[in-house]
């Protein structure tokens, strides 16, 4: 009877989980194989490290890698830092709190390209923000915010799009802490910062890590924000990969970048999650 049950479970999992594993697995396989010289559209398949050497040796690659890593770290940490106080503020419902959280979460439902466009209008050279800044006299000249070298436009868009996601996860976690537990901490002498460090943060660490990981991966692989609002002197990993593929069909090199991007996404997000939990645990040691 046991094997029949096992068979049934496997049969049920096949169309959903099975399809996912098959597809993600083969895409991953193709990417890795292509980076080593197989699955060529034209020419002979043969194992070679040439593509890795070429890409890893290029200056553009290391710039892309560190740029994407930088954007991902800033987006993930920035979103969480912005979302925490709001989540705590919205912990207990009050009049208007539902409306606030609905409005704050609205960017979740705005597609990335549309978000880019909306903000290009606002932060454009002659856009509202610049006109306003000049009007109140902060600057005499419009400030370059789109395609700026510091990537502030991209960072801003990342935060706009991802903070709501962090907020969604953290609100749920913060709301599940009971009032009495927080009251008890107060009663035992914990001020508001101590309550955050010693009670709220450790009890919401999983939601925070989930937010960090997902935002990091999304931002590391960003294409739309970078292409529309990013600096022109550096490419993000996804942009670089598409560029390699499109110019002379350098599929193998694109594969190297793609595999590197996956490695960055995987390890970067895990390291970030690990560091955050270490930091929080150290908070518990006093």
């Amino acid at each position: 009877m046991r094997w029949r049950r096992t068979l049934l479970i496997l049969a049920l999992l096949t169309p959903g989980l099975g399809v996912i594993l098959l597809m993600i697995g083969s895409v991953f396989y193709v990417a890795v194989m292509q980076s080593f010289g197989y699955y060529n559209l034209v020419g002979e398949d043969s194992f070679s490290l040439e593509h890795w050497e070429k890409v890893l040796g290029s200056k553009q690659f290391s710039r892309s890698l560190s740029y994407s890593a930088y954007i991902a770290v800033v987006a993930a940490i920035g979103s969480v830092i912005l979302a925490y106080p709001i989540a705590i503020w919205l912990r207990r419902p009050f009049r208007g709190s539902l409306a606030i959280s609905a409005v704050l979460k609205a960017p979740l439902f705005v597609p990335g390209l549309v978000a880019s466009f909306l903000f290009l209008n606002v932060i454009a050279f002659h856009g509202v923000v610049n006109q306003f800044l000049m009007w109140i006299g902060i600057t005499d000249e419009p400030i370059r915010m789109q395609n700026d070298r510091g990537a502030w436009g991209v960072v801003f868009l990342q935060l706009w799009k991802n903070m709501p996601f962090a907020l969604l996860l953290l609100t749920g976690a913060v709301q599940s802490i009971s009032d009495e537990v927080l009251d008890a901490a107060r009663d035992l002498g914990a001020g508001s910062f101590a309550r955050f460090r010693k009670v709220i943060a450790p009890l919401t660490v999983q939601a925070m890590q989930a937010a960090l990981i997902i935002i990091f991966i999304g931002a590391a692989g960003d294409f739309a924000f970078q292409v529309t609002a990013g600096p022109t002197n550096v490419q993000s990993m996804a942009q670089y990969m598409v560029f390699l593929k499109d110019s002379f069909g350098r599929w193998n090199q694109a594969a190297v970048v793609g595999v590197s991007l996956m490695i960055l996404a995987l390890f970067g997000s895990l390291i970030l999650a690990f560091i955050s939990s270490v930091v929080l645990k150290s908070g518990n040691k006093w």
Binding site: A184, G189, P202, L203
Partner: protein, 347 residues
């Protein structure tokens, strides 16, 4: 000097609901005071005002003679035991107990001394490294107690600490709390809606109803000499009868003309007597009542008899024997000194 004192404290919530009105209460150092009343009468609200979670709308709170009305909970020398225990789920038993001392920067040796002593006191030495969700309800309750006591507070505030325990355990923890209080000498304010808990544990009972204090007194006092109909009815069971004053020692009631030894209070609305006050087997002298029995319920130690007379439906008395020896009617005597006069309304 009083350990804790509320002066004309009232609390009106934002929605306009008046939860407390003019509460005046003084608690002596080392005293065990119970706030007793039905659910919703404002006990928790008053406790939270003492702890500092709520600011009173009017009035003041003093601790050891100093005004603490606007001190936040983290700055007050009070510790609270919550109804749901409110243990920190991510901390072990030992870490929970050490939380307060660490916040207050008690030095390490002192902290460990307190921890070890308290763990022994509440018999949790074997569980010190466990997380709260691995403990039974009674054990969690004891951790909450130890956590509060680790602060060495001069006042401990209990909010229905036993309501989530089963009856047997409740009695045991009740005795433990009293034992710890005697040992550490803290002042205790203890909220409950269970009258037997209040009578068994307290030095003084504060009976509350609808945000007001009905009566404050020693357990015997509130039981034997209730001042209001509410107190009489809420603590134990009471028979309440309207009356007309005939003279200083005689009143006219639905049970007939009764002699009383207490002077009728001019504000009194009812006379009150308890089911166990009825004396059977006496047919001489005054205050003899005879009535048909409408219902009987055997309770083991006694039989609960219900009698009904015009103007006084459903009076109850305790017949000290078995149900089978009761006839169709009951004749009993109400001793004049047991008849009390009470103010207020019947709920």
């Amino acid at each position: 000097m009083t350990a804790l004192r509320s002066i004309d404290v009232s609390k009106v919530f934002e929605d306009g609901f008046t939860a407390l009105a003019d509460i005046n209460l003084s608690v002596d150092p080392g005293e065990f005071v119970t706030l007793l009343g039905p659910s919703g009468c404002g006990k928790t609200t008053l406790l939270k005002i003492f702890a500092g979670f709520y600011a009173p709308t009017t009035g003041r709170v003093e601790q050891n003679g100093a005004d603490v009305t606007s001190a936040p909970p983290e700055k007050r020398d009070t510790a609270m035991c919550f109804q749901s225990y409110a243990l920190f789920p991510h901390l072990t038993v030992a870490e929970n107990i050490e939380f307060g001392p660490k916040q207050n920067r008690v030095d390490r040796d002192e902290r460990l001394d307190r921890l070890n002593e308290l763990l022994r006191q509440v018999d949790l030495e074997r569980h010190r490294e466990k997380l709260p969700n691995k403990l039974s309800g009674g054990q969690q309750q004891r951790v909450a107690l130890a956590r509060a006591l680790a602060m060495r507070p001069s006042v401990v505030l209990f909010d229905e600490p036993l309501s989530n325990l089963d009856a047997k355990l409740r009695e045991q923890v009740r005795r433990e709390i009293r034992g710890l209080q005697r040992k550490f000498g803290f002042t205790a304010i203890y909220v409950t809606h269970d009258q037997s808990e209040a009578l068994a544990m307290s030095d003084r009972v504060v009976v509350m109803s609808g945000g007001k204090v009905e009566q404050i007194g020693a357990p015997e006092e509130v039981y034997q000499r209730p001042e209001t109909a509410f107190v009489a009815d809420f603590i134990g069971s009471a028979n309440l009868l309207p009356f007309d004053r005939v003279d200083d020692h005689v009143v006219e009631t639905p049970l007939g003309r009764l002699t009383v030894s207490n002077r009728p209070d001019p504000n009194a609305r009812f006379i009150c007597w308890r089911p166990e006050d009825a004396e059977f087997g006496v047919s001489e002298g005054g205050n003899i009542v005879t009535s048909d029995i409408s219902e009987r319920a055997y309770q083991g130690a006694y039989t609960d008899l219900h009698i009904s007379v015009a103007g006084a439906p459903d009076q109850r008395l305790h017949w000290p024997g078995g149900a089978s020896c009761v006839g169709q009617s009951a004749t009993f005597r109400l001793p004049p000194e047991r008849i009390r006069f009470v103010r207020g309304e019947i709920a």
